[in-house]
Symmetry: C2
Subunit: 264 residues, 2 copies
Amino acid sequence: MTVIPEAPHTTRTGAAGGSRPTAAGRMLSVLDAFGPRHRTLSLSEIARRAGLTLPTAHRLVGELVGWGALERDDSGRYSVGLRLLELSALAPRGLELREAAFPHLEDLHQVTRGNIHLGVRDGREVVYIEAIRARGPNPLSSRVGDRWPMHATGTGLVLLAHEDPALQEEVLRSPLERFSPMTVVDPRELRRHLARIRQTGVAVARGQITLPDLAVAVPVRDPAGRVAAAISVVVAADRARPRELACVLTQASRAISRTLGPRP
Amino acid sequence: MTVIPEAPHTTRTGAAGGSRPTAAGRMLSVLDAFGPRHRTLSLSEIARRAGLTLPTAHRLVGELVGWGALERDDSGRYSVGLRLLELSALAPRGLELREAAFPHLEDLHQVTRGNIHLGVRDGREVVYIEAIRARGPNPLSSRVGDRWPMHATGTGLVLLAHEDPALQEEVLRSPLERFSPMTVVDPRELRRHLARIRQTGVAVARGQITLPDLAVAVPVRDPAGRVAAAISVVVAADRARPRELACVLTQASRAISRTLGPRP
């Protein structure tokens, strides 16, 4: 397994802070300045990335530090603060699913020794609300909060396969990024792939992001029977047994759904 | 073990949104309206809790939904959205520590079958950046993002014991909330308690929050030798072996520090 490139940081509202006319919007553009490749920023870097003047950035950063959204380190650089962790723990889609799923994801990790992901759809992307990384010298660097295009990951393919046909077509018609020579970016091939996932209940994705990896993913249904999330195991392709992985994943998925179900 | 009350939601900037003069401040007061007991809110509830007029709340909520900080469900109620989860994953204090610690916390959980916490200090409180809950009918309901006064939890006592004397005195002089009849709220007794923690390197807290529980906690040091976090195990007091727990915790803490250390 090799370390994958960091998930592209997408801002659905556009990166240019200058295009945000409201004060509240400018504050959000300060937060948008931070990303996987920009975890700590100086004040002038924030101003530049957010498209703000230095005095405006200074005032907004001050408010955000006071509130706890940002923290200032000893060298005067800023990073995301713990108040946002606290707040994000209130996200119902993140928290309930994560708590229901965690023991079962832990079991999956113990049994398969692979990287485990719990993903939900957000817009046209999948966001990992839980990730357990395999131990070893080169674990896949997936993290909680990572965001990926749906066509490129096991969990994303499962979620896309069970979405409205309209949304599927919207994704298939959009530019599909290629992460490796194996990434399926042909809309017709993807459409067949999605049909097979619906039919079998399992997505098997080979080398979609990093060549030596194989991802197996299945849906997780809520008490109403809707697909609320997807779970996946990523292992090195040379030691992968996709059928066995699909069996343990399906078992885990059912256990999670039972935990999500209405209590007696 | 019994289910503990939800951690009090503290807003260090005060709850009244009306006292926030700036537009950016009003946006933060919308986010402050959400808490452990207020995970989903209607627009009018947000306006009332944030001290805003309905039109102002409507406009700010619209911006926050567009950005992904809030989500609107089918019934028109709002909750915290996944964009905040994504952003909070960038918090260096949360992420690096969590990743370095996770395999060792998992081992602790397997060995002790208890609730495991990884906490860092934020202001005068401890925030759990990781929590693994014991399985069973009534696990302690600690969650990632939970925030507690330092005097009341094992991790908080460890962090407080290793803080500047000035901050210690500030905490000891402040009103100390009592969560159970066992919560130590007498400043002199607490001061002795903190000295013992510094001397032994271990905090043993009995029934500080819920009577039948015993927490054992130890510090986690960064490569510079500073206390960066604390880890704890919480088990039912009747089956607790504090010395053994202290041994495995110390072992895990050293392993985490080694992972945090400079790579060759």
